[in-house]
């Protein structure tokens, strides 16, 4: 076992429960349906690009040699005097890859005592882990395959390949229990590289869920999302931010330091809060636009908003269709 893996293992042993039992119970009651056709090894409840034996009629096609004669629609033959066969949708299982941002910035748990009860001492990576764990539980509960990977400047740590067995859920949870390390060299967020590296384990026509603070302000950071989308993936971006990031606490003059080797900033929050609010609003809007432009579905997931609420909103919007 390599040193990072040993460290990760220790982290898991000492990690808190990834998923709150209450949240887990509520997650089991939810269901997720892919809005795009997916390809899975096993049959499932998601629409597949292939035709199969489901009850959902799709089209008539003229009989060609090699087709099974039992598929001939005799009623259509009677009407048209041509041998036509009925085609039905194939329903398959979903292959989901959950990508969690494990860069240094995700280790942020607030710069002042929390103002929301729900995010007391809550780190962004914990929140992201719980979100993804709930999602994994939901998916596996409905028979889909779920894999997990973490990324910082690239894909890092163990990659848990998608499996659909219930026992696989424990492996997923253990992987998600690895916390982002704020002191591991100030790892920066390399979204572009990480997503490019995620193309391979993601496979084709699946679901990719990215939980990140998106604090990679480079212009092409989210460009690989479009590649994922082009490969038939359904991409969901959970934008995880702490409440102190969304609303700068009124602490007066202070020296602010980032978690990824950013330059220090001395600021007076009395005067800077308004401009900061404009900046964060601009940042959120930019992230949302870039995600949706790349074909992803964007959901803001602040740490002070309970996981099940984010999940419910995500699923509700999924059923209603995503705004682009």
């Amino acid at each position: 076992m390599s040193p990072p893996r040993r460290a990760a293992a220790r982290e898991v042993d000492s990690a808190p429960e990834v998923l709150d039992p209450g949240v887990a119970a509520r997650a089991r009651a939810l269901s997720f349906r892919a809005t795009r056709a997916v390809e899975g090894l096993l049959s499932g409840q998601h629409r597949s690009p292939h035709r199969g034996a489901s009850v959902v009629f799709v089209e008539h096609r003229e009989y060609r040699p090699g087709d099974e004669p039992r598929l001939i629609d005799w009623r259509a033959f009677a009407r048209t005097d041509r041998h036509m066969i009925k085609r039905f949708e194939q329903e398959t299982q979903l292959r989901a890859l959950l990508l969690r941002d494990e860069s240094g910035s995700m280790a942020f748990g607030g710069c002042v005592p929390p103002k929301h009860e729900t995010d007391e001492g809550r780190r962004k990576d914990d929140h992201a882990a719980e979100l993804l764990a709930a999602f994994a539980l939901l998916l596996i509960h409905q028979g889909d395959a779920v894999g997990v990977a973490g990324f910082g400047d690239g894909l890092e740590g163990d990659i848990v390949r998608p499996r659909s067995r219930a026992a696989h859920l424990d492996l997923v949870f253990r992987r998600l229990a690895v916390r982002a390390d704020a002191n591991r060299g100030r790892a920066s967020t390399g979204l572009h590289r990480s997503l490019v590296e995620a193309l391979e384990p993601a496979g084709r026509r699946g679901l990719v869920v990215i939980a990140s603070d998106l604090l990679d302000l480079s212009p092409d950071a989210l460009a690989p999302i479009a590649q994922l989308h082009a490969r038939g993936h359904m991409v969901i971006v959970l934008h995880v931010l702490h409440s102190d990031e969304l609303e700068l606490p009124d602490v007066g003059a202070a020296r602010f330091e980032g978690l990824e080797d950013e330059a220090r900033v001395e600021a007076d929050t009395h005067t800077a809060r308004a401009q900061y609010a404009e900046e964060i609003e601009r940042f959120l809007e930019d992230a949302r636009l870039r995600c949706t432009a790349a074909g992803a579905r964007y959901e803001l997931a602040p740490t002070h908003v309970p996981v099940e609420r984010v999940l419910a909103r995500l699923l509700r919007r999924s059923r209603a269709g995503w705004s682009r």
Binding site: C111, V112, F256, G258, E266, Q275, F283
Partner: protein, 652 residues
């Protein structure tokens, strides 16, 4: 601008304290983590600059505050070029010293008097309309030259028409007194400005400063303790040993007597500049005596001057001194006979009178005498007399008072002893004119010995009855007995000279009348004693009025200018030779004004102590303290610092 307490500037080192605190405080800012620090950086680009600016402003205010306090403690002041220029309407009396020493060329812009005039003019011009000005000159005699008036033009006119030179002495105490009186019943705040060099001869310690209610500002002009070479005295008297020759006794001020290389060569020259005699004094002290001999001249006026300049001649007026080589008229002696007798040889002044009547070998002038009995001697008898001889006589109190004034005005007095002489009475009546206390007589038999290399010859004369004389400190013993008792003493009193003979004038107490030298002694004594008086117009004090002789219509001044006479002549301020002239421009007489020797002493006296409750400023350039303003500014800075500090965000 200056600092009264410059050592307080060491407190500026404390400026490092707020800087250090500032730097430490910057480190003390709480450190908070924020992943979106980049966004914060964008958002606070403006506010951060404002915060830093505010910090810098706060630091600057604190530094300024500290610097202001330090400077205020250092008591800075600005020196304005005019006194009393605070804009208050006031009544100002300006005392301007116009004595000779003020013409010393060591002022900032030339002579001291030029600096003083410039200061006085600036002071007057700086006064607001309605202020009153009076102007008093402190040259002897002190005089009010511009009465107190709200019209400043008269005072300014006097200042602008100041003469180019002066030989006046100093009368600073008198001038301050005049100024004080000129301010009585003044309409505005009373102020007194004194502009002088405050040299030792000005005697500033005897100034009676005004009591309460008068602001006094004084200004010392010129450099301190300026060395000055000068011809202090020059007196010509006929040389008894060489007929037709005049002895010129010189007293020189030689400040660099310790420098071997400094030559003190003196030249006696006549009016046309022809050198009559020259010699070099071997300076042994701050003053050096020198005697030169010149032939008797048809024109009795000569000048003594330095042969070479040495750079110490900052006061030109005392480097060329006029002198009279011979008296222009006979000496007039009044012999007061204390013991008249029909027989001349038994008369108290018989021998002396006969000696004066005898032609003295080598004497240029002659002595006319008149005898009066002691009990008839009164003040009226001093009218046309140059020398009074009191022979065994004590004048009445009234006559004694007149005699004192006579001597102080330049007359000569010879006091000879006798049986009627009473020492205490003589001292009481003549006051300082009695240059020695007279002790009771005793019988002796001793020779008379001339003191030093004197020109008086006593031969082998002996003395039998001696009145012991106890001379004052400023009297000089001319002759002594063999065992050292003074026989003849001489001294200056005012402008005159006094001599006292410790025995009788006749042969009752000495055999001196039997000796041939007695004639010469009589003439010499009269000549010496009349040196300040012989020919009343020969020498007068600068500034003193002089009565013109009969027939004189105008005066030719030393600089060649002509002044028409209208009463007593008073423009006797310059050193040099003045000529009385008649309508035909013929010379009817001369007199000289010689500079007072004391004025050549340019040593600086300690400034007079001013009563603190009456003094608000010191110096003609008024000193304005800046500390109150600095403290005020510091208070405003403190306020600004407080406001800035309150508006500054509190650290988390």
């Amino acid at each position: 601008m200056g600092l009264a307490l410059p050592v307080a500037l060491l407190g500026l080192f404390a400026l490092g304290l707020p800087i250090a605190i500032h730097l430490l405080r910057r480190k003390d800012l709480p450190k908070l983590t924020l992943p979106t620090v980049v966004l914060l950086g964008r958002a606070t680009a403006t506010s951060r600059r404002r915060l830093q600016l505010r910090d810098v402003w706060l630091l600057a205010l604190r530094l300024l505050l500290l610097a202001l306090v330090v400077f205020a403690i250092a008591s800075p002041f600005v020196t304005t070029r005019a006194a009393f220029d605070d804009g208050h309407r006031s009544s100002v009396a300006i005392v301007l010293d116009d004595s000779m020493s003020m013409w010393t060329q060591d002022g900032e812009n030339g002579t001291r008097i030029e600096d003083a005039v410039a200061l006085a003019v600036r002071t007057i011009e700086a006064l607001p309309t309605g202020s009153e000005v009076s102007l008093v000159f402190a040259g002897h005699p002190a005089r009010l030259v511009a009465e107190r008036s709200d019209a400043t033009e008269p005072a300014l006119r006097v200042l602008r028409t100041l003469p180019e030179t002066s030989a006046r002495g100093s009368d600073l105490p008198g001038a301050v007194d005049l100024a004080r009186r000129s301010l009585s019943a003044a309409r505005h705040d009373r102020r007194l400005l004194v502009l002088s060099d405050f040299a030792v001869h000005a005697n500033p310690r005897s100034i009676a400063w005004p009591e309460r209610g008068v602001q006094v500002a004084i200004e010392r002009l010129g450099a301190e303790d300026t060395p000055n070479r000068a011809v202090l005295e020059a007196e010509g008297a006929p040389d008894p040993t060489t007929p037709g020759q005049v002895s010129v006794r010189l007293l020189l001020r030689t400040p660099h007597h310790e420098d071997d290389g400094v030559a003190n060569a003196i030249v006696i020259e006549d009016e046309s500049g022809e050198v009559l005699a020259e010699g070099t004094a071997q300076a042994t002290g701050p003053t050096t005596a020198l005697t030169l001999h010149v032939p008797a001249q048809a024109t009795p006026v000569a000048f003594a001057r330095w042969k070479e300049t040495s750079g110490d001649e900052l006061l030109p007026a005392d480097d060329r001194r006029p002198l009279m080589l011979q008296p222009p008229a006979a000496i007039r002696a009044l012999l007061v006979d204390g013991d008249p007798h029909p027989t001349p040889t038994r008369d108290e002044v018989g021998w002396f009178a006969r000696a004066l009547e005898s032609p003295a070998a080598g004497r240029v002038g002659r002595v006319r005498h008149r005898i009066i009995d002691a009990d008839r001697f009164g003040a009226d008898d001093l009218g046309e007399v140059d020398v009074v001889v009191l022979a065994n006589a004590i004048p009445t109190a009234r006559a004694s008072a007149a005699l004192r004034r006579f001597v102080e005005a330049g007359g000569g007095l010879l006091i000879a002893m006798g049986q009627k002489m009473d020492g205490p009475t003589l001292t009481r009546r003549l006051g300082r004119a009695a240059i020695a206390r007279v002790q009771p007589a005793r019988t002796v038999d001793e020779a008379i010995v001339a003191e030093g290399a004197g020109i008086l010859e006593f031969g082998n004369a002996r003395i039998r009855r001696l009145y012991e004389l106890d001379p004052n400190t400023d009297a000089t013993v001319v002759a002594r007995t063999g065992n050292g008792s003074p026989v003849l003493i001489e001294g200056r009193v005012g402008l005159g000279r006094v001599a006292m003979l410790a025995t009788t004038l006749d042969d009752a107490g000495t055999d001196l009348p039997y000796h041939p030298g007695y004639v010469a002694l009589a003439h010499e004594l009269c000549g010496r004693l009349s040196s300040g008086r012989t020919a009343p117009s020969q020498r007068i004090e600068a500034g003193a009025p002089s009565e013109p002789p009969e027939g004189a219509t105008h005066v030719r001044l030393p600089n060649g200018e002509r002044v028409e006479l209208a009463g007593p002549f008073t423009e006797t301020y310059a050193s040099g030779v003045y000529e009385w002239r008649d309508a035909d421009d013929e010379v009817r007489g001369r007199f000289i004004v010689a500079p007072p020797a004391a004025e050549s002493d340019l040593r600086t006296a300690a400034l007079p102590e001013l009563p603190p409750e009456t003094v608000t400023e010191s110096g003609g350039r008024s000193r304005r303290p800046l500390a109150p303003w600095l403290f005020l500014l510091a208070g405003a800075t403190l306020l600004a610092e407080g406001i800035t500090r309150l508006r500054r965000p509190k650290p988390a």
